[in-house]
Symmetry: C2
Subunit: 244 residues, 2 copies
DNA sequence: GTTGGTCAAGTGGTAAGACCAATTTGAATG
DNA sequence: CATTCAAATTGGTCTTACCACTTGACCAAC
């Protein structure tokens, strides 16, 4: 029997999630007004400060614009949303959105090798220890969830070694989107467990300071993951009343 | 005489900016605790709800972790921050951080052509009208600031045509970082004004549905902008008491 | 007809105070 | 030294009151 910690969700978190859902899924068009803070507080049965906290966070996502005396106006989330919106877009209607999943996979495929090449160029031998440490831990696990978490850690080292704050921040956003999904994906990604060799080859290329080889090796690391990911996402997708 | 709208800054905005500054620039290490809400309210001379709003927003950035009864704990902003942090990192100590600027430019250089190729592949002729509209407006302006805004609009069309939500959301984050800097950069980027041809060539490649040509054309669009950007960023950088 | 001024209603922004919930800390005890 | 428990601290929520801004209506002056 697996006991999980009980996680309490604050009132303002719940308000935020509901408002976010309305903006992303509720058919609200850009330019429409949300109900006033007082109305939301009444309808949701909570206090106005809780609503305010949620709405200030919504404003920070750029998905709504809040003006003093003017209410909250909805913006087009596709035009203004940041990577933090990704988990929300990935899982909709109880399943995975295939188009979103595909775009995640293809962005990994394209940007991953670029980052690996930069890591080889700029990090090179200095990354050896950290990469080998993660690889040793990868080699020592048979648990798929742990494997995925370690694979992320591996890429954390690589993107750090790339010495590019933009890629670092992008990775952070993508990781934040991916991490909560690991438990759901772990079963489908189980065939990956134990395939340490591609990670070793990439680490060797990075340590050798060879960008071109690192780029190719990164593609080899990502290719099987990518197809497993697409398989997993497809299994989790919900085109017609199929529950994951 | 140029009149600008007066912008008021709310108390919670001011608190947020100060706390963010402490976290990013104040020498706080990951794991350190921020002062309690009550302390912050007293020190800053504001109410506790205003502090709460700011801290809930900070928690949303992932740069701090707020636990009930446990206070707010600082996280490593490099490891947890998202692209929204970019403007903050780009401009520090009254000047531009050259490493951040470089990473912005190189990410554009790498990811831009990828996006353009996808737009050619997936948008193709359907993007013709929108691209030509922006190009006509580019051709009709001699104002550098307007030019930069239109260039962003051009790329907005391209990234939309790429039909990849991940790139879309990344672009949104980068644009949010770039837009406030346009007025400061416009003077240095003035030599770009009038050079419509590369944009026309890229639009033609996209409309023709030719990914390889679009990729190469995007590189040609970005190359002069990149060097101008680096020049501009260098002029704005502040290694030793030089004020932009 | 246009412009400026005033007012009311509605909405966002702020504060004070009270109280509950979770965590941390320190003292007492075995 | 380990455990237990109470107190202190901190976050979370709510109520109430009031201020600041926006919008629209209406009226007066030009």
């Amino acid at each position: 029997m697996a006991l999980k910690p009980v996680t309490r969700k604050s009132v303002s978190d719940q308000v935020f999630d509901q408002v976010l859902g309305e903006v992303v899924d509720g058919g609200l068009a850009a330019g429409e007004q949300l109900p006033s803070e007082r109305q939301l507080a009444e309808v949701l049965g909570v206090s106005r400060p809780a609503v305010r906290e949620a709405l200030q966070r919504m404003a920070q996502t750029r998905l709504v614009e809040v003006r003093h005396g003017g209410g909250a106006t909805v913006r087009d989330f596709r035009k203004y949303g940041g990577l933090d919106l990704l988990p929300r877009l990935l899982v909709r209607d109880g399943g995975v959105d295939p188009a979103v999943a595909r775009s995640v996979v293809e962005a990994r495929t394209s940007v991953g090798p670029i980052i690996a090449a930069l890591a080889a160029q700029r990090g090179g031998p200095a990354l050896t220890g950290a990469l080998e440490d993660v690889i040793a831990r990868l080699a020592g696990t048979t648990d798929s969830q742990t494997w995925q978490e370690l694979a992320l850690e591996y890429w954390d080292v690589v993107v750090d070694g790339a010495d590019s704050i933009v890629y670092r921040l992008m990775f952070n956003g993508l990781r934040a989107a991916y991490e909560p999904a690991i438990p759901a994906l772990a079963l489908a990604l189980a065939p990956e467990v134990g395939q340490v060799e591609p990670y070793r080859l990439l680490a060797a290329a990075i340590s050798a300071g060879d960008p071109a080889t690192a780029r190719a090796a990164a593609e080899r690391v990502l290719a099987p993951t990518n197809s497993s990911l697409m398989t997993a996402f497809t299994a989790l997708s919900n085109p017609e009343g199929e529950q994951a």
